[in-house]
């Protein structure tokens, strides 16, 4: 019985790999004729979701796509199952896209054997950075400097944030401050929304978030930015938050720019990848993208086409693998 199951499972893994090949030769110019499935490995409502939806909407509005892609949320196993699925997709490789950012790449290469080589990089669209926020009504500290002093004096500081890149950045932050995990603790949440919830309830001292997820709360006066995790201050409403070096010149600025990109499966045809890369370029040039997305959510534009994105992502992967000693 077990043997049969093993055979069945193996078959299910092998079969999709052989499906392509024959189709790759014929096409010269690609234009999508079927529905596109766009994988998003984060929860709806989060930063990746907003990003994915913004692209889809602009692409349809500007006539770059006839039909809005179907967004498929695959959050199982912190997204690894979804990424693996895209990596091994057999049919429809030309109609499968995946929202992929550095926060996806890091846990993927750390925890699984899945590597960038299983994907076709299509573009990098923007970079995003984090800030620390405080709840002005319930927070004990109104500046980050007070918190550093308190931590060094033996009071535990608690930061809430999301998984992936947030967790990585937290590690960099306490290292720079010379603190241990018990002095400045970090609570990992499933999503930034959950972290903000605990901040609004006053259960943690600081909330780590990218501008997008926190913007409405800043507008409503429920969160106040206190530290820009960046080499320079943010623009607009977030301008009041100093960088770490401005807080105390003893420390260097800490940042972990999160690039947001799009990839396809490795066996996506070159024509299709070119089509999507061009499409995304058009999107990134549109006013709706610049004003409706980048400015609203305080992201930096940083478009890279498929070749440049491939080089950039590969370099990033190599550096990260080296850092974690793999």
């Amino acid at each position: 019985m077990d043997k049969l199951l093993i055979i069945a499972l193996t078959l299910s893994l092998i079969l999709p790999l052989h499906s392509k090949g024959s189709q790759e030769v014929a096409q010269t110019d690609f234009k999508p004729t079927k529905e596109i499935t766009w994988y998003c490995t984060s929860k709806p409502g989060g930063g990746s979701d907003i990003y994915t939806r913004a692209i889809c909407e602009i692409a349809v509005q500007n006539g770059l796509l006839d039909k809005a892609p179907i967004i498929n949320y695959k959050t199982d196993g912190s997204g690894e199952v979804g990424r693996n699925e895209v990596a091994n997709i057999g049919q429809n490789a030309d109609y499968t896209l995946l929202t992929f950012n550095s926060g996806d790449l890091m846990p993927m290469v750390a925890n699984t054997h899945n590597r960038l080589s299983n994907f076709t990089p299509i573009a990098i669209m923007a970079t995003d950075k984090q800030l620390l926020f405080v709840n002005p009504n319930k927070g004990k500290y109104s500046t980050f400097e007070e918190a550093i002093r308190a931590a060094k004096g033996g009071v535990q500081i608690v930061i809430a944030g999301s998984k992936g890149d947030d967790l990585e950045l937290y590690g960099m932050l306490i290292k720079e401050l010379g603190l241990r995990e018990n002095q400045m603790a970090y609570i990992t949440n499933d999503s930034t929304a959950d972290a903000i919830t605990s901040g609004l309830g006053g259960h943690v001292d600081f909330v780590m978030s990218k501008p997008a997820a926190a913007s409405e709360y800043v507008k409503a006066g429920m969160l106040v930015p206190v530290l820009a995790l960046s080499s320079s201050r943010f623009a607009g409403a977030l301008n009041s938050a100093p960088t770490l070096n401005e807080v105390n010149s003893m420390y260097n600025n800490v940042e972990l720019p999160v690039w947001r990109g799009v990839v396809g499966p490795a066996n996506m045809s070159k024509e299709a990848a070119k089509f999507y890369s061009d499409m995304l370029f058009e999107v990134s040039c549109s006013i709706a993208w610049k004003e409706g997305y980048l400015a609203t959510y305080s992201l930096e534009s940083s478009f890279l086409d498929m070749e440049a994105a491939k080089a950039y992502m590969e370099e990033y992967q190599t550096a990260y693998l080296k850092k974690i000693g793999k």
Partner: protein, 505 residues
């Protein structure tokens, strides 16, 4: 402007011909999605989202809201009739619903489930209308230590299922927790207990696990009853709407349970990360303490009312943080939230202020959806109970196919089918050997929430357990927990000493 006039305003938005028909459509789709094992409201809402691009935001949210809402009604259908829960809150409904259907009262079981869903939903929506924003900030007061204590209370509902075989029950409870620990560790973001398997890294998916544990293992059991004849006489009498109506006595029995659960469920729905499933479990656990005519778990109408009212109320309660603060209480809430942004609205603390007609239109449409779902669901009862007259010989292959397709659809892969198959066979063997699997399912659902909250609490307290007693909310729940546990122990020993005394005579 008072909340009532805002709500009436909302009704005037909803009650146009177009919006009423959209609401009707949403309710019907929701019932179907809910009744299909393997597909939850999340999938239903996510799939319909692209369709709503062309609608105006209010109509779009009415469609999604009514779908989400009536989905809660549909989940109980297959739980009661086939012993396969359509969605996770329906697991609790199954405990009393299926035995009640077996006792020859399937119509009443469905009727009770529907009417309690309606009552729970109505209570939840009323509370939402009057206390909405205030309720949302109430939810914020619950920190990880408070959630931990609350979940421990919810977990005691398992104790009642353990029943006659406490040791076997405890073993299955703990096994459920261990199985749920497979996959990504939520705190460190690293995989654990996955034995280097990619699929296990994603954890054991709940729906295929339940379909196997309950549905497929039951098919295996039914194989022995293949040649039993359906007792036509009992069923024929009750196959009409009239035969499935609740008697006044039934109604009196269930009403207090439904009302209590409705209030309780609403507040559970508001809490961060709790949702309808926890609501159903807590409703069941707390209502156990009250006197019921039949004992819970043996097909008691009170049991059905307790969980169905609670889960619908929780679904309503979850809208409070969603609308007032922009915090999604569940995956489905999150998709709705995504929808809001797509239509150019900014969900968040300012939604009620900036887009009142939208927010109140949504609440009004939920009231409306609640009513429509009730009417449709009750109209369906006579058709649904016909399923019970289908001979076991035909039920076996049909349910097998549903288990197969449902578990595939849930994971979009054969992984779900493999999980379903293995858990089905293991559960069949366990059940036959006196190890009831119900405690395993419940602990499987609650354990991950419990663990992540407990660890968050311990990180903030630097490992000290004092945090569970210094917070007033947590402390209250811990006291309730001790009362429930000592009550259970006393009852267990008094019962066993009674039986030994009787045995001695």
């Amino acid at each position: 402007m008072s909340n009532i006039s805002m709500l009436l305003n909302g009704f005037s938005v909803v009650l146009t011909f177009q919006n009423v028909s959209i609401c009707l459509l949403g309710a019907i789709l929701g019932l179907i999605v809910g009744a299909m094992p393997g597909i939850g409201s999340l999938a239903g809402v996510a799939l319909l989202l692209p369709l709503t691009y062309k609608f105006n935001p209010t109509s779009a949210i009415i469609l999604l809201g009514s779908l989400y809402y009536s989905n809660m009604f549909g989940g109980s259908f297959s739980a009661i009739l086939l012993n396969i829960p359509g969605d996770s809150p329906a697991v609790m409904t199954m405990l009393d619903g299926y035995p009640m259907a077996k006792k020859g009262r399937p119509g009443q079981a469905l009727f009770c489930a529907n009417i309690s869903s309606f009552i729970g939903g109505a209570i939840g929506l009323l509370i939402l209308t009057f206390l909405g924003p205030g309720m949302a900030s109430f939810g914020l007061h619950f920190g990880p230590q408070d959630m931990t204590a609350l979940l421990l209370v919810a977990m005691t509902s398992i104790g009642y299922l353990v029943g006659k075989n406490p040791i076997e029950g405890i073993i299955m409870t703990l096994v459920g927790i261990l199985i749920s620990s497979i996959g990504m560790d939520p705190q460190s973001g690293a995989p654990r207990y996955n034995f280097n398997n990619m699929y296990l890294m994603g954890g054991i998916p709940f729906v295929p696990f339940v379909i196997g544990t309950v549905g497929f293992s039951q098919v295996l059991r039914l194989m022995s009853e293949r040649n039993d004849r359906v007792d036509d006489e009992i069923l024929k009498q009750r196959l009409t709407i009239k035969g499935s109506l609740l008697t006044r006595h039934d109604f009196r029995r269930m009403l207090p349970f439904a009302v209590r659960s409705g209030v309780l469920g609403t507040f559970v729905g508001v809490l961060p990360g709790a949702g309808a499933t926890t609501g159903a479990f807590l409703g069941y656990a707390i209502n156990r303490a009250f006197k019921s005519e039949e004992s819970f778990g043996s097909g008691a109408i009170e049991g059905i009312a307790s969980c169905e009212a609670a889960n619908n109320a929780a679904a309503a309660g979850a809208f409070a943080p969603l609308l007032a603060l922009g915090i999604p209480g569940s995956g489905t809430g999150a998709v709705l939230l995504g929808g809001l942004m797509m239509w150019g609205l900014s969900p968040g603390p300012l939604l009620f202020r900036n887009n009142p007609e939208f927010a109140w239109g949504l609440i009004a449409s939920l009231f409306f959806a609640n009513l429509i779902a009730l009417v449709i669901a009750i109209g369906l009862i006579p058709f649904l109970i016909k399923i019970l007259t289908v001979p076991v010989k035909i039920i076996i292959p049909v349910v097998t196919v549903i288990c197969f397709v449902g578990s595939y659809a849930n994971t979009y892969s054969m992984y779900g089918v493999v999980v379903m198959f293995i858990s089905g066979i293991v559960s069949y063997i366990c059940e036959k050997s006196g190890y009831s699997t119900a405690p395993m399912i419940l602990s499987f659902v609650l354990a991950p929430l419990l663990e992540s909250n407990m660890r968050k609490a311990l990180i903030t307290s630097q490992g000290s357990l004092r945090i569970f007693f210094t917070s007033p909310i947590a402390c209250t729940f811990i006291i309730i927990l001790f009362i429930i546990i000592s009550f259970m122990i006393i009852r267990y020993f008094s019962r066993s000493s009674k039986t030994t005394m009787e045995g001695g005579k």
